[in-house]
Symmetry: C2
């Protein structure tokens, strides 16, 4: 298996992108940054990252089982699940590997620049409703979620699996959902049809797609995606810290119009409206600043008022920039209520996780 599926590696200094990374980049996709204009990302523009294959899911035969350390094991078909009281939450999701391709040395994996994000309205049954119905035993400490996608990763054959501590799984702020709808329509195949987990505030790896089983355990889960992958570590041997909540980030809708190949932006002299979105999975974003001189000096942007109905959704921000002829580098920066902010040098780790390096948009302002 190791010959087919070797351990994780770092690219050599100046090693360019390989065909394996390209194959992932052409399958998976990010949010085209102009689509930050939509409060709710239309399906098809929302980022997607699929570890193995999209399973061939047949809704009429689908069962969600809840078992392990429970007194009342459940096996629910979709009709039964959808007959339970539901909730809808507007949630910003981001891939933990967003920004990975900007790191040096580059962890060899899905090569995101900074577009692996999206915001949708997810409808489903609160997870704590299902756990209450299953009557979780007092010795349970975690819930382990299993998806139907099957593959090989670094030598380990597996169904995709992740766990949550019971305190997170049963919380009501934010409420974890077993979702069956995205933006008022059934989940698209690439977003987990027919069922997926939604864990507001957490990076994408927690939102298990094609969800088919929830097992309560009395010891913490040590499966591949929990203990091997998705850890912040500096060396391959280190146990590392688990990847959990989303670090703050602001993104700017690139202004003006683009060059096809370089994506360099072109504007005309005069005031240019700059707008974008900002989010954090830890606490509300309370400040967005913009630099028009390549992160040398910063001035505040206007941040939309918090919307109490959507605490886990990104917030709009805007400012006006007086464009003058020449080449400029625009950079937004978000800070949250707990003081977390974005670095101007990338926070390196071996997996390339949680890299919330500030965005840098090159804009050429034409002569007047």
């Amino acid at each position: 298996m190791t010959a087919i599926s070797p351990p994780a590696r770092l690219a050599a200094p100046h090693e360019a992108l390989g065909q394996d990374e390209l194959a992932l980049a052409t399958r998976n996709h990010g949010l085209p940054l102009e689509a930050l204009r939509y409060d709710i990302t239309p399906a098809g523009l929302h980022y997607v990252l699929i570890h193995y294959d999209i399973p061939d899911a047949a809704a009429d035969a689908w069962r969600l089982t809840v078992r392990g350390r429970v007194r009342n094991p459940l096996s629910l078909d979709l009709d039964t699940l959808m007959s339970l009281p539901s909730a809808t939450h507007r949630v910003t999701l981001e891939c933990a590997g967003n920004g990975r391709a900007l790191l040096s040395p580059r962890p060899v994996s899905q090569p995101w620049l900074l577009e692996a994000v999206g915001t949708a309205e997810w409808t489903g049954v609160p997870l704590r409703t299902l756990l209450a119905a299953a009557d979780v035993a007092p010795d349970a400490v975690e819930a382990v979620f299993t998806g139907a996608d099957h593959g090989l990763e670094r030598g380990v054959e597996q169904d995709y699996q992740r766990s949550l501590p019971l305190s997170v799984a049963t919380a009501d702020g934010p409420e974890v959902l077993v979702a069956y709808a995205m933006n008022d329509a059934p989940l698209p195949p690439q977003h987990g049809y027919p069922l997926r987990l939604i864990v507001p505030g957490w990076y994408g790896m927690a939102h298990v797609k094609w969800l088919r089983d929830i097992t309560l355990t009395r010891t913490p889960f040590t499966g591949f995606q929990q203990a091997t992958a998705y850890r912040y570590r500096q060396t391959p041997e280190a146990p590392g810290e688990p990847v959990t909540r989303i670090a703050p980030r602001a993104l700017l809708i690139p202004p003006g119009f683009p060059d096809f190949m370089s994506r360099t932006r072109v504007v005309h002299p005069g005031p240019v409206l700059l707008e974008g979105r900002a989010w954090s999975g830890h606490a509300p974003v309370t400040r967005v600043e913009l630099s028009a001189d390549d992160a040398a000096t910063w001035r505040p942007a206007q941040l939309a008022l918090p919307d109490p109905a959507h605490p886990w959704s990104w917030r709009r921000w805007h400012t006006t920039w007086p464009a003058t002829p020449g080449t400029h580098h625009l950079t937004p920066r978000a800070t949250d209520a707990e003081g977390r902010t974005q670095p101007t040098a990338p926070p390196w780790n071996r997996g390339g996780f949680g890299n919330n390096l500030v965005q840098r948009v090159t804009v050429v302002c034409l002569p007047g």
Copy 2:
């Protein structure tokens, strides 16, 4: 402008993928090949290639104008357009640049491997209905289609524009559509909302998205996307031949399960069902063959009967492969009714267009 937006270039020998190519690959996306299982590609899995930005289209203010060499110029709002008799066609679309990243030297542009394809049901008003209503003048020879997407490409600032000869624009087999729905829903933003052209059998560059104007001309159109881009040429100076219809191709749904990083497939010994799709924009596909020994020998696969209702849609094919332990390279090959087939060496040209090189799927069969 040339400093921001230089001429097209070829990658140097062994020059690896650049960040400009990666930025296109993370914005645009292909069909994950397991999604070949769907007769009709769900929106969000269908390939998408956007030259500039997705325009911020407001449906209530949208107008489609038909003008130039016509006796009765039209300016239609969406309600009026959608009140006209409509047609729905199931059409396979493929990007003309599909396969480009496999070429050597590699044309520097969107780096597709071979996943830039999809099949949808497109609903709209037949173009010839609109042209009849506009009463085309006898001296008109072409219809020029203008989209709302604006950008810079190789030094030329432009709205995306392409033309069709009047004989193609007014044909009824296939019928060109001004489409407003994809798979029974309004067009998604990335597929041209609110209006796009559908030209069955032609590569994607002809299916102008965000369509806002049709101008009839008495001379052939010589705009950038017609005369500079999308030509088959061997040297930069050559006028080249225009890129038009889709060359035949068969794709295989990769069998078994994948390794995350390499996408190598893993199967167990025994009979393995292989299935896929095949299409040609010139004539019906009449033969699909499969090689299990890296294109050395071929045997016929079973091709689904032609469906007269959907002559411009891909066709399913299947065969059974007796997998034995070891590493194998599987390759399908399509041939159409006019004898066009797929090469086993890539047909090189400077733009990387129409490269219908056969697919090569590496499969490891485990010991029994």
